[in-house]
C-alpha cells in the first residue's frame, strides 16, 4: 500500500495489522476524528447492506425459462449464420480475387501505355528512320529526327561517298 487512500481504506476495513497499523495510526493528526469517521463508514456500510441487500428477484423460474429460450434461439441462429457465413466467405474470397485481378490488369495497362510516352518525352528528338544501301555507301547512316516542341524534322546524313540520284534535289 502506497497512498493515503489505500491505507485509509484498509484501516476502515480492519485490514491493517501489526507494524502497518501502528504506523498508520501514529500518522493520523486527529485519531479521535478518524475513529468517528470510521464509525460513520461502518454505519454507511450497514445501511447499504440493510437497504440494498434485501433485493429479491420475482419470477425466478420465468427468468430461467426465458433465458433457456433465448439461448436456444441464439444458438440456432448462430448455427444458421455459421453455415451461411462459410458460404459467404467462399463467395467473398472469389469476388475479392476477381476484383484484385481486374485492378491489377487495369493498372498494368495504364503503366504500359504510359511507358512509351514517358520515353518519348525524355528526349526532344526521335529517330524516325534510318536506312542505307550497303552497295553504294557501306559506312553511311541516314537518320531523321523530329523536334517535338518546334515541329521541325531534320535529316542527318553521315558517311555518304556520293549522293544517290533519287536524293538529288529537283
Amino acid at each position: 500500500m502506497k497512498t493515503f487512500e489505500e491505507k485509509w481504506t484498509a484501516w476502515l476495513d480492519d485490514q491493517l495489522s501489526g507494524k502497518e497499523l501502528a504506523e498508520f495510526e501514529a500518522s493520523l493528526p486527529d485519531k479521535a476524528a478518524a475513529e468517528a469517521e470510521k464509525r460513520d463508514a461502518q454505519k454507511l456500510g450497514a445501511l447499504l447492506k440493510e437497504e440494498l441487500g434485501a433485493q429479491v428477484m420475482s419470477n425466478e423460474e420465468f427468468f430461467s425459462h426465458q433465458l433457456r429460450e433465448r439461448i436456444g434461439r441464439e444458438t440456432a441462429s448462430q448455427d444458421r449464420y455459421g453455415e451461411r457465413s462459410t458460404w459467404w466467405t467462399v463467395r467473398r474470397l472469389a469476388w475479392s480475387g476477381a476484383a484484385s485481378l481486374a485492378v491489377f490488369v487495369i493498372c498494368a495497362v495504364f503503366v504500359l501505355r504510359d511507358k512509351n510516352p514517358g520515353e518519348q518525352s525524355q528526349y526532344l528528338t526521335q529517330i524516325l528512320n534510318a536506312r542505307v544501301d550497303p552497295a553504294i555507301s557501306p559506312n553511311a547512316t541516314i537518320s531523321m529526327f523530329e523536334t517535338k516542341e518546334d515541329k521541325v524534322t531534320v535529316l542527318w546524313v553521315e558517311g555518304l561517298q556520293s549522293l544517290p540520284a533519287d536524293y538529288a534535289a529537283k
Binding site: M1, K2, T3, E5, E6, W8, T9, A10, L12, D13, Q15, E37, D40, A41, K43, L44, G45, A46, L47, L48, K49, E51, L52, G53, Q55, V56, M57, S58, E60, F63, S64, Q66, L67, R68, R70, I71, E74
Partner: protein, 203 residues
Amino acid sequence: METEATLAQVDVSDLELVKQCQASQTEAFDELVARYRTRIFAMIYNMVHNEQDAWDLAQESFVKAWKSIKRFRRDSSFYTWMYRIVMNVTIDWLRKKQIKGAGSEFDDSIQLKEIDPASKTVPKEDPLPHERMERNEIRAKIDNAIGQLSPEHRAVILMKEIEDMQYHEIAETLGCSIGTVMSRLFYARKKLQKLLRDVYENI
C-alpha cells in the same frame, strides 16, 4: 425431469458444473443460473435501479456467459468470472446511457412505490403506511446518492458492502489493481458519507 436434474446437482461444485457446460450440457448451465440469478439480478438492480433493465442486463450477462463458457479456464471461481461479465455488461450500459443522457437515471422510483403487494419483494408482514413511506424515502435517497457515483465507483462500493467481496476479487472482476479498488472505495465512501449522513445518523 428438470427437478430430478436439479436435485442431483445440489452437491456438485460450480467448477464441476462448468466442466459439464463446456461439454455442452445445458442442464448444468441451468443449475448455475439458478444458483446465481438472484444475486446477479440484485447486484445489477442496485447499479441501474430499474427492474426491467436489470432483468434484461442479467439475461444478457447469462447469454454472454453461456457463449464464452468454453473459453473459461477455471483459474478463478465461476462466481468471479460471472461477475466480470455482469460488470462489463452493466458498466457499458450505464456509460452508453450517460452518453445518451436519457433523462433521470433512476426512473424506477415510482415503480418501487407501486410494487405489487403480492410480489416476493414485499415482506410477508406489511409495514404500516407511514413506515413504508419512510422506507421508500430512505431508499430513494440511497438510490439518488449511488446515482451520483461513476459506474466504476458504484460497482466497487456495491461489491464491497453488499457482496462482502475481498479487494482482490473486486480487482479481478473489474480488471484493475487492488490499489485502484481501494482508492475507488475511499472516494465512493467519502461521497456517500457526505450525501447520506442525515440518513444513517437518524436511524
